[in-house]
């Protein structure tokens, strides 16, 4: 029906950064090296098939640059103390905003979710005795170090990176790098890697012990059951992290595809033939695209939060497995 409108054209990664291609305003990005033909390794570009410095890579570089400019100065100032020896207090809108987000990640995500299981032989329930292990309910925010604090750097990095990558897809001529499965798969691999590394440091070899449930039966009955459940748990672990990647990828790709389809109604042949129809369809399309873009802003924030939250849960499940 539509002449040449490929709805995935501006949603996919590409080796040409198009601004107004009908005017010839496009940026041909450089090729890095050649690879054998495969759906996973390279893409087709103006210089043949190979690995390019693609549009999404350039956008990720822009995101990293923007994050450094925004966050590094605040981080440097936050490390120190003021002249009177008091802890640093943020001043100004940006510093307060960054502090609010980081406190949210620390208190509501990391400390809520990653909790060291306390053993039953410690006395608790006595009023006035402070348990220094459980995370805050939002009221005790300055308790001192919590075992979940060492994961906050990774979680905060993931949150900021995913949020900015999602939002840069809504900027004109931009695109969201998280709409490529490679980017989200790399992020999910980082979560898995951190989970394994931290679990290995914490538990040693018995980190796989959590995958074997204890069954009270004689050995010949117990062993095949435990073996099967171990395999199922490992598969579940890999699938959980894979779905983490696919969820973010599908949300971003789907949103931009819907936007592309909505705007594509304007360039259909049947619409372009008739001026009145074209005017009506253009108005409707643009209004619809504005609405969907606002929804995409919401989805960008929600998906960044969901990725961070689920990463914290999966890391917590590996590091402090429930017995």
């Amino acid at each position: 029906m539509a002449a040449e409108h490929d709805i995935f054209h501006h949603v996919r990664d590409s080796a040409v950064w198009e601004f107004f291609s009908s005017l010839g305003w496009e940026l041909k990005l450089p090729k890095l090296f050649d690879v054998p033909h495969s759906p996973f390794l390279g893409l087709d570009g103006p210089q043949g098939y190979g690995v390019y410095f693609t549009k999404f890579m350039a956008l990720e570089a822009i995101v990293v640059f923007a994050l450094l400019i925004l966050l590094w100065p605040i981080g440097r100032r936050a490390r120190g103390v003021t002249a009177g020896g008091q802890p640093w207090v943020p001043r100004g809108a940006l510093a307060n905003f960054v502090e609010a987000v980081l406190l949210f990640i620390r208190d509501e995500i990391a400390r809520e979710v990653i909790q060291k299981p306390h053993h039953d032989d410690e006395a608790h329930g006595e009023p006035g005795q402070k348990l220094d292990q459980k995370g805050g309910s939002g009221e005790h925010t300055s308790e001192g170090p919590h075992p979940a604090d060492r994961f906050v750097p990774y979680l905060a990095t993931a949150f900021w990176f995913i949020l900015f990558c999602n939002l840069i897809g809504l900027v004109p001529f931009g695109g969201s790098p998280t709409g490529a499965l490679g980017c989200t798969a790399a992020l999910a691999l980082c979560t898995l890697g951190l989970g394994f590394y931290a679990a290995a440091r914490e538990n040693g070899v018995e980190l796989f012990g959590a995958f074997i449930p204890s069954i009270e039966s004689p050995l010949p009955i117990r062993l095949p059951l435990q073996g099967m459940m171990f395999v199922i748990e490992v598969i579940g672990l890999l699938i959980r992290h894979g779905v983490l990647a696919v969820r973010l990828f599908a949300n971003m790709m789907g949103g931009h595809t819907v936007l592309s389809v909505l705007l594509g109604f304007v360039v259909m042949e049947k619409v372009l033939a008739n001026t009145v129809l074209w005017a009506l369809v253009s108005a409707g399309s643009v209004l619809g695209a504005v609405g969907v873009s606002l929804l995409e802003v919401l989805v960008a924030f929600i998906q960044a939060y969901i990725f961070t939250f689920l990463s914290a849960i999966y890391i917590g499940m590996l590091v402090y497995p429930e017995h």
């Binding site: 779905v243 696919v246 969820r247 990828f249 599908a250 949300n251 790709m253 789907g254 929600i302 998906q303 969901i306 939250f309």
Partner: protein, 98 residues
């Protein structure tokens, strides 16, 4: 009345589904082409039903206990995102394969 409605809709559905291979066998065009678009339609039924139930339960909970409304809202958004994740997984399969 509702059981009659249920019976009627089940009849219509089964006729439609069985009509597909039946017509194709006679060499005519099938009534429903079981393509990716059809799958996407099925997926949205499940997803919208699930999220609708989630929303109704959380609104009821917020109405019963307004002081925990914020907690319920947070949990609602989390659960909705998880359901949507599964939906999008299936939609990707529909788009790529169908």
């Amino acid at each position: 009345m509702t059981s009659l409605l249920r019976l009627a809709s089940m009849t219509v559905l089964s006729v439609l589904v069985l009509a597909v291979p039946a017509l194709a066998q006679e060499g005519q065009q099938a009534l429903i082409n079981l393509t990716g678009s059809f799958g996407a339609g099925l997926i949205i039924i499940g997803a919208a039903y699930g999220i609708g139930r989630l929303a109704s339960a959380s609104f009821e909970g917020m109405a019963r206990q307004p002081e925990v409304a914020n907690t319920i809202r947070g949990a609602m958004i989390l659960a909705a995102a998880l359901i949507e994740g599964a939906t999008f997984f299936a939609l990707i399969v529909c788009i790529v394969v169908g």
